[in-house]
């Protein structure tokens, strides 16, 4: 057991980890925002569009994220005349990926809206669009908040895949330190702790928000 | 310390039983006897401790002090000097001597109606497959469900499920049958079929202790009614006495008033 723990080298390069963590959070936030837009668009779309989107959702959920990342970053530029940075490419990929999961969340959330509320909306003469905006969406958001929180935290962990196309998020930072200092155990202990603590912090904050929504009628 | 009508010791003897759930005292020195062949109904407002009392009789709930004896044997604790809980095997054996029917039926969903009844017969009474099957069929017939022997609980109505639940408990030939608000979860039109079964079992001499809200049934089927409130036995007596409109017991009167309006 000739391995002596030495955290100094880690602290010296901590900026890589900290910067990486912030980038991971940024990537997750942007991706879920775009994903939310996609999911809401699905939910309010017509029947034909729904079938297409359902197919897309089923497809995305059954394919490894890493393959999707490669496909968008290396594959797309060969057929489409577009050039983008690794970061943009990853945000694009993760947004589409998150959209697929959010569609599921929203679909079951919408189904869970109590019939009675919809009937009440109809009874006071709201149009379908108004019913969507004023009855279904708000109630659905409240119902789906826990699932949304979990999805967000999952996305935050999925940002680690960005490291394979050299986006300098947290895992990339950890690997950099690993390869440049060989302090593998230390760096991964710290990185694990950072993911765990951030995850718990996010969970805590999101639960607080949930509680706010539950009391605000 | 009265028993039923004879001087033989009571089948079930609950003596000074107290129980707390944390800071809340649910049972305060409750005493109650049920003689062989007697049907005793326990009524009272929610929170009065009646369900807890019932669940202490087959030790689904432990009790802090006092004693509960069935045929002289203490239910939950060993007969030694110190108050030691009975061991796993012992408890199981004691519970086999009582039968319980639950408010939410609690049928085993992965077993058929017959299977539900046969499980105890095979694993606890050690009967063979064939014996257990014929006993199960007999009791299913008795509750009017012989044709549903191979149906799963999911295929049965609430009333049917509860009748299977009764058959399951009774097939074990328990000394006493414990009924925990068995019709409370049923649609009104299904209550009658279940009560009819209980009535016929009572007529055959089954000893029963039942917690119920069905006042008419309690009046017609039981030999004694126990009124509980706030964890104590507030009043005991024959149905005529307890359910009389002119009772001087304030608490009892308030409680019954609620039922008088809708039921009697």
């Amino acid at each position: 057991m000739g391995y002596a723990l030495n955290f100094n080298l880690i602290w010296r390069h901590f900026d890589k980890l900290w910067g990486g963590l912030l980038l991971s959070l940024e990537l997750a936030v942007i991706s879920i925002a775009i994903g939310l837009v996609l999911a809401v668009w699905y939910v309010s779309a017509g029947r034909a569009v729904r079938a297409a989107i359902a197919a897309y959702v089923e497809f995305i959920r059954n394919v490894p994220l890493i393959l999707l990342v490669y496909l968008v970053f290396y594959g797309l530029p060969t057929v489409i005349d577009l050039a983008y940075s690794a970061q943009t490419s990853f945000i694009l990929t993760l947004s589409v990926y998150s959209g697929a999961y959010l569609v599921e969340v929203f679909r079951s959330g919408l189904e869970a809206v109590p019939r009675g509320q919809l009937d009440a909306g109809k009874a006071i003469g709201l149009t379908p669009w108004q019913r969507l905006l004023h009855v279904r969406l708000p109630t659905m958001l409240r119902i789906t908040l826990p699932a949304l929180s979990n999805t967000f935290i999952s996305l935050f962990k999925d940002t680690s895949i960005a490291s394979v196309i050299s986006v300098p998020e947290l895992t990339y930072g950890a690997q950099w330190i690993n390869f440049n200092t060989f302090r593998i155990v230390e760096v991964y202990l710290i990185t694990t702790a950072m993911y765990l603590l951030t995850g718990y912090a996010l969970l805590f904050v999101l639960r607080l928000i949930e509680r706010q929504f539950r009391t605000a009628r | 310390m009265s028993t039923g009508s004879n001087d033989t010791p009571a089948l079930l003897d609950v003596s000074d039983v107290s129980k707390s759930f944390g800071a809340v005292q649910v049972l305060r020195s409750v005493s109650l006897q049920v003689g062989r062949g007697e049907v005793v109904a326990v009524i009272g407002p929610s929170g009065s401790g009646k369900t807890t009392l019932l669940r202490c009789v087959n030790f689904l709930e432990s009790y802090d002090s006092g004693s509960i004896r069935i045929d002289g044997k203490e239910v939950g604790f060993r007969e030694t000097g110190t108050r030691q809980r009975r061991g796993e095997r012992d408890l199981a054996a004691m519970r086999a001597e009582t039968g319980m029917v639950f408010q939410s039926f609690n049928l085993f969903p992965h077993l058929t109606a017959a299977g539900n009844i046969m499980l105890g017969l095979r694993k606890v009474r050690g009967k063979s497959e064939a014996e257990a099957r014929s006993i199960a069929e007999h009791w299913l017939g008795r509750v009017g469900l012989a044709h549903k022997a191979d149906s799963l609980p999911a295929e049965l109505s609430g009333g049917q499920q509860q009748r299977v639940g009764i058959a399951r408990a009774v097939a074990m030939e328990p000394k006493i049958l414990l009924l925990d608000e068995i019709t409370s979860a049923l649609d009104p039109e299904l209550v009658g079929e279940v009560l009819a079964v209980v009535r016929s079992l009572a007529e055959d001499g089954m000893t029963m202790l039942m917690v119920t809200h069905e006042m008419a049934f309690a009046r017609d089927a039981s030999s004694r009614i126990v009124f509980m409130a706030d964890g104590c036995v507030n009043a005991v007596g024959p149905p005529k006495e307890i359910l009389a409109a002119e009772t001087t017991n304030e608490r009892l009167r308030t409680f019954l008033a609620r039922f008088r309006a809708s039921h009697f």
Binding site: F59, P64 | R95
Partner: protein, 216 residues
Amino acid sequence: MLTQIAYALPFLAQGFALTLWVSLLVVVLSLIAGVLLGVGLVYGPAPLRWAVRIFSDTIRGIPILVLMFFVYYGLPAIGLHLPSFWAAVLALTLFKTAQVVEYLRGAVGSIPKGQSEAAMAIGLTFRQRLAYVIFPQAFRRFLPPWINGVTDAVKGSALVSLLGITDLMQAINQVIGRTYEAMPLYILGAVIYFAVNYALSLASRRLERRFSFIRE
């Protein structure tokens, strides 16, 4: 283009076989470990329950990639030299095991308390209750989400490509390196992964329907 890809098919098939093999190993090993730990979590003494909780929450709280790198680079550092294949399988197995523990906890936890009480009421001992009442129900509640979770093992296996193991993902990368036909190959790969996982999720949904009676 098509001829180039046609030539590459045997190579891709090999990668696919490896993907299936890794997935199979991970699924089987994690099932065994997960059930053992899961039972410990539900029925074991407090210290064991705590240990399993901490294990499960930690593993599920970090990305699979981090877990994999940690195992792959970390084990040699503390003196354990596993071949890269087994290091990868170990990492993925740890990840899946934590999931299996959760499925088990959910399965047993979702059985209504009344079931144990009814079983107690007819005089069954603890062991009998477990065997004849709890386990049959827990099993049927566990199976559908578990089968669905197998797709996570298959998707996770694609990460072993980063450790130099030539699974389907790595095979695709290598063929692209030789032929430069990026899009067709990525799409082909996506279709293959999709086919496997979709079949699994369909099976899971069918089982879910078949066992729905257990939730009455």
